[in-house]
């Protein structure tokens, strides 16, 4: 098993970590979730019959792990909703989302785009990360998500539109740019 783990680690680990990080935007959480990805991979590898490439199969597992995490969080939020007013949670606003310390981004526009991704749905964010950060093709993205290529294109189109609307409003509204 160690040999298999090493092989996966060498080929895909940083890509998987990066995908999860951009999904959840929290380093410690991403470290924890990437462990969960390996647990699922090592348990389910016998069921992988080469129906898709190893890379897209791993990304699809990473996607499901992050979606499971978001669902658990939603259930928790629902449970405590009566005690907290979540509308006051400023960190959900695009102009207040702190950038991770190690992210060195020179361009203010790129920082705005990073923050604007918060306003996308999970599906839209998934497509943006796979397509533009991981550099996957439409076909590979459709394999990861299990959607048709047509749906990937539509989701991508809507995600770009959503990001553009937020960045336009930040520019127009004088959203605060964070110095790092």
């Amino acid at each position: 098993m160690r040999a298999f783990f090493d092989e996966l680690y060498d080929h895909y680990h940083q890509d998987l970590f990066q995908f999860i990080f951009y999904m959840v935007k929290d380093r410690h959480l991403a470290e924890d979730l990437v462990q969960d990805v390996y647990v699922k991979v090592l348990k389910s590898y016998p069921a992988f019959h080469g129906r898709s490439s190893e890379k897209t199969w791993l990304f699809s597992i990473a996607r499901h792990v992050t979606i499971d995490y978001f669902r658990r969080q939603k259930r928790k939020r629902d449970r405590v909703a009566e005690f907290f007013d979540w509308s006051e949670k400023g960190s959900q606003l695009p102009g207040h989302d702190p950038l991770p310390e190690e992210m060195v981004i020179q361009s203010e526009d790129v920082k705005d785009v990073y923050r604007a991704m918060n306003q996308c749905s999970i599906d839209q964010r998934t497509v943006l990360i796979l397509r533009y950060i991981q550099g996957l093709s439409i076909k590979e993205t459709s394999e990861v998500t299990g959607w048709t290529e047509s749906k990937v294109k539509t989701t991508q189109h809507r995600a770009l539109k959503a990001v553009k609307e937020v960045t336009d409003s930040l520019e127009g509204g004088g959203g605060e740019h964070e110095k790092i």
Binding site: P100, S107, Y132, W147, G172
Partner: protein
């Protein structure tokens, strides 16, 4: 101020920095191993209840057939009131029909679409326009695409219109996204009307709150005289009554949803089902000799007092019951009691007790 363009957004996304995981390979492997051991030791939470359910099913599988066969031997009346209601739902409808009274001795019922009480399984809905493009007939099935173009024609229906259109339902967001090809450009208002109705009916039962239309790279869809459309309203309560559709004597009968204007009450809707109109091949589903002397609605349960003259046959009764059931369901009801019909059973309906309204209709097995 300069606004960012779509291309700029794409470039900026690709400029987001690469990030590295600082966990060492060995630390990561140990953490993964620990989690693996934990998951292998832990008994799945469903195993206890699952085992109990399996045991119960085995017991039921052994005892229910024995009980039923004993019960059948003891019963002399086929519509005995002590009959188990749950068991009725899963019995073969043909057996039920053969057990019930047949006023005119009809050997078989050629309707393609009896209502069914099985509601827990997954159903697919496909919409087929009628032959005169005036109504859309929803058909429920457990399988993909019940009809080819040819078999639809044999049934007296037209070809399904949503062939090259993709429908994706997001259950969490209660939203459906309908994607047309970029080159989509329909002609004719009747076609567009049938197309939009088909989409709405194929999403009936999905409990979506919004239906977004788009093309692969556009946010709206040209819909002829309706202009560019980016959203449809899902079918709401009380929008339709059900009449009967039949193309010709050789083809099947179907329940046809006919839109109503305004916001009629269920009582008014039931009376409308006696009226002509709704399309060339569409006829009233409630016979003229039937009167509703009382329509009482309480907590989703509608109680009907029905007076009637002589039925033309068993089929006339069962088609009326099917149509009333589908209409009551469309108006948000979940149960119906039929008082006043001078028989205890018709077409699988036990008329001696309240009937749970099934979701699917026009079922093709």
């Amino acid at each position: 101020m300069k606004k960012s363009k779509r291309q700029n957004v794409e470039e900026q996304l690709s400029q987001l920095p690469s990030l590295k995981d600082h966990q060492s390979r060995d630390v990561l492997y140990q953490a993964v191993n620990k989690k693996l051991e934990r998951t292998e030791k832990r008994m799945p939470s469903w195993l206890g209840p699952g085992a109990a359910v399996c045991a119960l099913l085995v017991v039921l599988a052994v005892f229910i057939p024995v009980f039923l066969s004993q019960n059948q031997e003891m019963n002399t009346q086929p519509s005995e009131q002590t009959r188990d209601e749950t068991a009725r739902s899963f019995e073969n409808p043909e057996m039920e029909n053969s057990a019930g009274p047949s006023a005119e001795g009809e050997a078989s019922d050629d309707r393609g679409a009896p209502l069914t009480a099985i509601t827990e399984d997954e159903w697919f809905t496909f919409a087929y326009p009628g032959r005169n493009a005036e109504v859309v007939i929803p058909v429920f099935t457990h399988d993909e695409l019940p009809f080819t173009k040819e078999t639809a024609e044999e049934k007296g229906l037209s070809e399904r219109l949503l062939q090259n259109i993709e429908i994706a339902v997001n259950e969490e967001a209660k939203n459906a996204e309908v994607t047309f090809p970029d080159e989509f450009n329909p002609a004719g208002s009747a076609y567009v009307q049938m197309l939009m109705e088909s989409i709405r009916w194929e999403l009936y039962g999905e409990e979506v709150q919004t239906i977004d239309l788009n093309r692969t790279s556009h946010d709206e869809v040209p819909m002829g005289n309706y202009g560019d459309v980016d959203r449809l309203t899902p079918i709401g309560k009380g929008e339709y009554i059900f009449k009967l559709y039949q193309y010709n004597e050789q083809s099947s009968f179907y329940l046809a949803p006919v839109p109503v204007t305004g916001h009629p009450s269920l009582e008014e809707a039931l009376k409308m089902m006696k009226e002509e109109g709704g399309g060339t091949y569409t006829v009233p589903s409630v016979p003229a000799h039937v009167e509703f002397s009382l329509v009482e609605v309480e907590d989703g349960h509608v109680k009907l007092d029905i007076s009637h003259k002589e039925w033309k046959g068993e089929r006339e009764v069962t088609m009326m019951l099917d149509a009333i059931s589908a209409t009551a369901r469309q108006f948000g009801m979940s149960r119906v009691t039929f008082h006043g019909i001078k028989q205890e059973e018709a077409g699988g309906y036990d008329l001696t007790k309240p009937v749970d309204l099934p979701g699917p209709f026009n079922v093709e097995q």
